[in-house]
Amino acid sequence: MELSTIVFAVIALITVGSGVVVVFANKLIHAVFALLFTFFGTAGLYIFLGADFVAGAQVMVYVGGILVLMVFGVMLTNRIYDSRILADRVNFKRSVVVVGVGFALLAGVMLKTPWNAAPSEELASSTAEIGSLLMTTYLLPFEVAAMLLLAALIGASMLASGGEDDTESEA
């Protein structure tokens, strides 16, 4: 067995295992920290696929941004030591059955399909290529994404600041 196979197995185990913890943990804060390892594992998978820039973006955006937001959300909306926070679930057994059948279907299709998968061999850094793609082929989506982020920034700060403007306009 090659070393890369072992490393891949470890990364896959970390990713899926902490994903299981995210779903089944009884405390919200545990789920959030398990999500951290899922994001890191996903970044590792990207590196395995030769996508170094996407892996960097994954670590910076997900771990540095979204996860911190989640932690803030958990801390601001829950009493941390309240163990009841996550314990109540709805439709658990039925959902497990449905999701299990769905996963079996997905896996069956994925394994049965002849993918003609031929890995492209170049392992050069993809950052420069992605940069020129973003500035040529994907220029319009790039600008639209910039506008979307600006709108999300303004909208999120307006929503989270308590809507003082609303009360003024109503009064």
Partner: protein, 101 residues
């Protein structure tokens, strides 16, 4: 040798776990975490096909756009959750039923 199917199976597992989180959790932030798992599963597929087929780097660029959308979605959704908590003192999605008649 690690093939395309390995990545697809990992992605399917993450997707199923995300669906499970969305459908069984009652806390709004847990539901958001499930959504993030689903987005990550889709991203793994995009990057995997970017390597194992002839679409080249286009798959990676799509994955980048998905990451951007996930960031915007998480920011707005958490702002909404904070606002709901301020107004209703709960983040349980079952109890947010003011609009149901």
């Amino acid at each position: 040798m690690i093939g395309l199917e390995h990545y697809l199976i990992i992605s399917a597992m993450l997707f199923s776990l995300g669906i499970l989180a969305v459908s069984t959790r009652r806390n709004a932030i847990s539901v958001l975490m499930g959504v993030e798992l689903i987005l990550n599963a889709g991203n793994i597929n995009l990057v995997a096909f970017s390597k194992f087929s002839d679409i080249g780097l286009n798959g990676q660029v799509f994955a980048l756009f998905v990451i951007i959308l996930a960031a915007a979605e998480a920011a707005v959704a958490l702002a909404i959750v904070l606002n709901i908590y301020r107004n209703h003192q709960t983040v349980t999605v079952d109890r947010m039923d003011s609009l149901s008649g």
